[in-house]
Symmetry: C2
Amino acid sequence: MKPSEIKAVEMLEQHGIRPTRVRVSMLTAMLEAGQPLGREQIAQRMGQNANKVTLYRTLHSLVKTGIVHTALIRNRVQLYEPSHHCWKHLCHPHFVCRGCQKTFCLTGITPPTVELPAGFRLERQQLQMEGLCRICTMAEHET
Amino acid sequence: MKPSEIKAVEMLEQHGIRPTRVRVSMLTAMLEAGQPLGREQIAQRMGQNANKVTLYRTLHSLVKTGIVHTALIRNRVQLYEPSHHCWKHLCHPHFVCRGCQKTFCLTGITPPTVELPAGFRLERQQLQMEGLCRICTMAEHET
DNA sequence: TACCTAATGCAACTCAGTTGCATTATGTTG
DNA sequence: CAACATAATGCAACTGAGTTGCATTAGGTA
């Protein structure tokens, strides 16, 4: 077993959820990705095939246990990532490149905090950016 | 004509786009809303009926001219709002309540800025929050 | 008026995600 | 180990957002 698979099994067991084949390979794919993935992308990176419905249901149970969460990104399809790098409700910023469509996790940046109106209870927060990544910026200058 | 309609016509003309019935009533609805709206919500607030396809195409042309933009919110449906309250790439934060599903535009809050990795070009940025609004927080405490 | 183009409408489609139900795997108890 | 209960997976059919191609209408211009 690959280290990321071992890690995945551990995480599943720690959250009291059975490490089935589908779950392990899905979580492994997400752990190895380093960027939020959609259902289709996860399916491609899995060693095995699994039904579309199973993928969605597994994603839901992983979210329910808190192992993964959805990226708060405006996107046609829902993107998921392991939540173990985020602290409480503060999630790292995401940068989506309009050129190559890649999503960059800016884990090196401290998430900013703002003052909410009285009475509001914050549960998740994330800074979202759109623009051009370094490579696409360079590519555009060449033309 | 209502003031918001006059405003809508002005905005359309200033951006060199014909103030047709559909466009005016769509933009008016968005100007009056004070929160980002989806296609369905816009249709409901319009005085007249319009084809679904027309609504989408009109939204696209309004975005293209820069009169409105999409809210960078993780949502099943795309939400739109007039862009005249945002400055350049810095957009006001949005708070989405998981109780009532309402979206709050926190225009009173100064959008935070962060340092991007070298070479990245920022075009849009927005802070996104999820949690419970004041009313839903109170409602939950009562139970 | 005649014409051209932009705007709108209609029908049919794609694709993400869901629901209901059948089937298989896994853990538990006798 | 056998029998059972439940969790997990699969299949088919559906919903709903958004799109595409083509026909029709409206508005501006010569």
